[in-house]
Symmetry: C2
Subunit: 174 residues, 2 copies
DNA sequence: ATATTTGCAAAGCGTTTGCACGGTT
DNA sequence: AACCGTGCAAACGCTTTGCAAATAT
């Protein structure tokens, strides 16, 4: 079946090769924010002939066509998510690496107000919260929050010491 | 003379080598957010014997000791600024690459409120605004705003096409 | 005196690219 | 048929690291 993202590719007149179809499907099915290696892993399960270079190229192509958005949650690897609903942001659980999405209209307003105060129009912005789960029970009523399952530092970061806000889940200090 | 940051190093019991003293001075004098290559350039002016590996090591050491903070404004190079006053954030002019610092108590409050709503305590956060200067004159009254002079992509980014919010200053499209 | 730090060059990591081949329109 | 996309391996840019010589305490 034609995946949601394949549809977008066709609409934009992109040449649909087998590999692109596979990446499109993997992305359409992804509810998380995979990095390229993870995409490559999932794509390989559907097509053993695909190469990681192609995944890189495809991901870049999709990004350039507004189909995908690149994220940087620290750790040196870019992560991707399909462009969908309105703007939203991410809270990364420093204990588990899990990503919670949220959006907040007041925050939007405030960002524009701050930029305006400095004499600027906002072109884009980057916001990530790094947090630790509270002892008390979490507020139950956030329809906008969506959990995911990606390890904090998928395949051994380039840096043994943790320099990025995401900490190793096995490490319990701080 | 003993630089502000050298003082901090001594307070923390770091061994003060000539190279570290030089990097400390360069950082103490910096009003901007230099990357490692820029630090190396400035340090080399004071000490021809210093190597870029040492600058990398020193910058990491300082960061681990809370003397420095690493920033990522896009472009693949880490940039550094001395840990100073309270938390502040950055607005990057997409036309010129200039960085304006700001802080906003309401924003702080809001971030904590959002995290709380999701059941988290904020450990840290990342916020960068990318903006374009307005036609109208900017508000004149922001004591907290501080301009700087670092080129958007100092020494030719790793990527010819602009994938990061900072755009090439020579390029006038979008 | 001893443990640390430095410089150099090599390696590492994520990502991109040149080239010849293969597939899409 | 013409062009574009792919795979492979090599290259790239930033950053880290192994080792022997130099230096701080």
């Amino acid at each position: 079946m034609e995946s949601r993202i394949e549809r977008l590719c066709i609409d934009r007149g992109l040449k649909m090769t087998g590999q692109r179809r596979v990446v499109a499907r993997v992305l359409s099915d992804a509810a998380d924010h995979p990095d390229v290696e993870e995409l490559y892993r999932r794509a390989s399960a559907l097509d053993q002939h695909i190469s990681i270079a192609t995944v890189y190229r495809t991901v870049r192509l999709f990004e350039e066509n507004g189909i995908l958005e690149r994220r940087d949650f620290g750790g040196g690897r870019a992560r991707y998510e399909p462009t969908e609903d309105g703007p939203h942001y991410h809270l990364i659980d420093v204990e588990t690496g899990k990503v919670v999405e949220f959006q907040d209209p007041e925050h939007e307003r405030l960002m524009h107000a701050i930029a305006a105060r400095l004499g600027f129009d906002v072109v884009s912005l980057r916001l990530e919260l790094f947090g630790r789960r509270r002892n008390g029970p979490p507020a139950p009523d956030h329809r906008d929050a969506q959990n995911e399952n990606v390890p904090p530092t998928p395949t051994g970061g380039r840096d043994p010491r943790l320099r990025d806000p995401i900490k190793d889940p096995a490490d319990d200090t701080d």
